[in-house]
């Protein structure tokens, strides 16, 4: 494992050395890096192509995440070929602490006020927002579950339930179901009693739980009838409804959300153009087009007005959907993931 990591780092270093030489020869175009797949295809149509049309040279690449990759990119302090990268919130947090990113000058990306507060960060500009929601099959359930309380009610909704394997998101869900107001979840979870309370709540449905591992699984488990209720990514459920003609329902009450943000690597020689791109991708009129392709919420405060109200109802950023949602705390999880994963696995092994 370890050598493989080293090899990748070495390969990355070799590639970046080549790019440095290349960069020294010519002004290279702005390089924007995102998550690939259907999502990046949508970004191409909505952000990249229109941005290129303004006369700026840019190319886009994709990556699979990982702080280690970013670390190897900024190591040595010379240009590594990447300028603007879309990162998950944990990478944003760790990378910012380690000084990998440019500190954002908010005046250059349209001002803090044009973004929803959750998108603000010292080192990044939030671009999309997505949720862990409670999903169910409307064809199979007569009454819709009202939230996580119902998720733990096996008499009202008999059958198996799906949760993501590991402690992350599940401890929050358990506390919300146990009556903790969503806004206070991390305050409670920061105490030992809070963690005990969450596990005790999970105990009540332990034998009815099925643990999913990848985002593609919850819609499959729902479709095969293996589970009646499950936590899931809202985008996956929406895609199953739109592409596979499923009739899945989403309960937004008490859902957990997180953001992906744009950052500029501190080694970038294109910081000015990078800012221009982030500003461009932050404008309401551009962001408003993204949800046509994929069910992510966007971060400009004025974007929602421009989105078809029917579509807006499917998005995490619809005011009703956002009302009782909690932002997943990356500070909490970066600090506690090892410890709580150990605890989760000891808990899982007890009968």
């Amino acid at each position: 494992m370890k050598t493989k990591g080293k090899l990748i780092v070495a390969a990355a270093a070799a590639v970046s050395a080549g790019l440095v030489a290349f960069g020294a020869m010519a002004n290279r175009p702005l390089t924007v890096v995102s998550w690939g797949g259907a999502y990046q295809d949508a970004q191409k149509k909505v952000f990249f192509e229109p941005f290129k049309a303004t006369g700026v040279q840019m190319i886009d690449e994709s990556w699979d995440g990982g702080v280690g990759v970013l670390r190897s990119k900024v190591q040595g302090g010379t240009d590594s070929g990447w300028d603007v990268v879309q990162v998950e919130s944990e990478e944003l947090e760790i990378g910012c602490d380690e000084g990998m990113f440019v500190t954002i000058d908010w005046d250059r990306v349209g001002g803090k006020d044009s973004y929803i507060p959750q998108a603000h960060h010292e080192c990044g500009v939030g671009n999309i927002l997505y949720n862990f929601i409670l999903a169910y099959d409307k064809d199979k359930l007569k009454t819709a579950p009202s939230g996580w309380v119902d998720f733990f009610d096996t008499t009202k909704f008999p059958g198996k339930r799906g949760l993501r394997q590991g402690p992350k998101t599940n401890l929050e869900i358990a506390l919300i179901a146990d009556g903790v107001p969503p806004a206070d979840v991390y305050k409670v979870l920061a105490t030992d009693e809070g963690v005990d309370r969450a596990f005790k709540k999970l105990d009540t449905i332990k034998k009815d739980l099925i643990w999913w591992k990848s985002g593609a699984q919850p819609p499959q488990l729902l479709a095969s009838g293996e589970v009646v209720l499950t936590s899931a990514y809202n985008g996956r459920i929406d895609a199953a409804n739109r592409n596979d003609k499923r009739n899945f329902g989403i309960q937004w009450n008490g859902s957990l959300f997180t953001l992906d943000s744009w950052v500029i690597l501190k080694t970038s020689p294109n910081i000015d153009v990078g800012y221009k791109f982030i500003e461009f991708a932050g404008r309401a009129e551009h962001q408003a087009k993204l949800p046509d392709h994929i069910a992510y919420g966007v971060t400009n405060v004025k974007a929602n007005e421009k989105i078809d109200p029917k579509r807006l109802a499917d998005l995490p950023t619809h005011p009703d959907n956002l009302k009782n949602a909690v932002q997943i705390s990356d500070r909490f999880w970066i600090e506690n993931i090892d410890r709580l994963t150990e605890r989760f696995n000891t808990w899982a092994a007890q009968n």
């Binding site: 293996e226 150990e342 000891t346």
Partner: protein, 410 residues
């Protein structure tokens, strides 16, 4: 010149050339093994012991705590507090403080925020003071804790037993004595036990299922044997992921097996067959079966049928002839199959992840978690050492019991 000496020299030269030739032929394999096997394992052993992350970013504090190590009974000195404050401030300015924060977070609850907040605070208020102890404790009382300082001392390097102790559910307490971890954090020995148990069950099942098949293939007429071989090898040609997914389809609550069981009337409700231990054992046995069958079959093919005939003609009951004449001759193949399957099963990762529940994950799962998800490479390496040691011990015991000269891999 003496013709005899000349002859001797020529002979020697020829000999040397031959030896070089042989060396050159095995060199690629040797190099490959070095790069892909010996070096990674060596690196893993090193990583589980060597601990220099903290001393690289906090050199002064690390140096002082190392001296303090000799008498961990006394309180940390003011000098140590001053060094710590300087190190924190400097690493915060250089943005290397996150490394120290991560390392201390492994050993301390809330260690990361303790370090990061103190760094932020010291950068904000650069005011110099004489009493750094008071200043640091004022920022966070945890700095006055012996536990915090012991964690620093333990991480000060260049070597640590922290990761290896964690891998066997132990830790050092405030008095620097090695004690068991609290039960809610004692995990890895239990996981090791689970890993061994699952592997042993799978091996036993594969042996029971595989033996008759191997016998059949070994003794069938050539054309039938060829056909049977294809059936045995078929699983090899399908991807592991596809096979595991197929088991999910078959074994789920509304899957084929449960539908059949209910149609026949064996059960009235679906039986839980997947996402639990049953699923893991079924899927792993299926995947590993060929590794059991192939060595057994090879051994059985080489057993002359005359021995059995002789035993029967001398009046032995067929069952007794089988047990006392045939079975002992299959032992080298059985031994090889058991060894192969058991050791391969120990490292299984993908199959339990796909078809198992939360309490069916084996050691490899945790090694992967610490390698990729949480980047705690020290603990990942220590768990690797734990698995390697357990495997080596079992292998030695096994070699003693079976006699390793007996084992034949084909």
């Amino acid at each position: 010149m003496n013709p005899q000496k000349e002859l001797l020299r020529d002979l020697k030269r020829a000999e040397r050339r031959r030896r070089l030739m042989a060396l050159a032929l095995v060199a690629p394999l040797f190099l490959f093994l070095m790069v892909s096997f010996v070096l990674p394992i060596g690196d893993m052993l090193r990583r589980s012991l060597v601990d220099t992350e903290l001393s690289e970013v906090w050199p002064r504090t690390s140096a002082l705590t190392k001296v303090w190590v000799w008498d961990r009974i006394s309180e940390p000195t003011l000098e140590m507090y001053r060094a710590l404050a300087e190190d924190i401030r400097e690493s915060a300015e250089k943005r290397t403080i996150a490394v120290a924060a991560r390392r201390l977070n492994y050993a301390l609850d809330n260690g990361r925020s303790l370090v990061m907040n103190t760094g932020r605070e010291l950068r904000r208020q650069a005011a110099n003071t004489e009493d750094w102890r008071a200043r640091l404790v004022e920022i966070d009382p945890a700095w006055g804790d012996r536990k915090t300082w012991l964690a620093i001392a333990q991480a000060a390097g260049p070597f640590t037993d922290f990761y290896l102790l964690t891998a066997v559910d132990m830790e050092r307490n405030e008095k620097d004595l090695i004690v068991r971890r609290p039960p809610e954090r004692s995990l890895y020995l239990q996981v090791l036990g689970r890993t061994l148990l699952i592997s042993a069950t799978v091996t036993l099942l594969a042996l029971v299922l595989g033996f008759p098949v191997a016998y059949l293939v070994a003794n069938a007429p050539k054309r039938v044997a060829g056909l049977l071989m294809i059936l045995v090898l078929l699983p090899f040609w399908t991807s592991l992921l596809v096979r595991s997914a197929a088991w999910i389809v078959l074994l789920q609550d509304r899957g084929l097996v449960n539908d059949m069981l209910q149609a026949v009337g064996v059960t009235s409700e679906p039986v839980r067959l997947i996402f639990n231990r049953t699923g893991v054992i079924v899927a792993m046995t299926h995947v590993l079966l060929p590794f059991m069958i192939l060595p057994m079959m090879a051994t059985m093919k080489a057993i002359p049928p005359t021995y059995m005939r002789a035993a029967l003609s001398l009046g032995a009951h067929p069952a007794i002839a089988f047990v006392r004449v045939y079975l002992p001759q299959t032992l080298p193949g059985v031994g090889a199959g058991v060894l192969l399957v058991f050791i391969m099963a120990l490292g299984y990762y993908v199959t339990p992840a796909l078809v198992g529940g939360a309490d069916d994950q084996m050691l490899a799962h945790f090694i992967a978690f610490y390698t990729t998800s949480s980047a705690n490479w020290g603990l990942a390496a220590a768990l690797g050492v734990l698995l390697l040691t357990a495997t080596a011990i079992l292998y030695l015991v096994y070699a003693r019991l079976v006699g390793i000269g007996q084992v034949k891999l084909g």
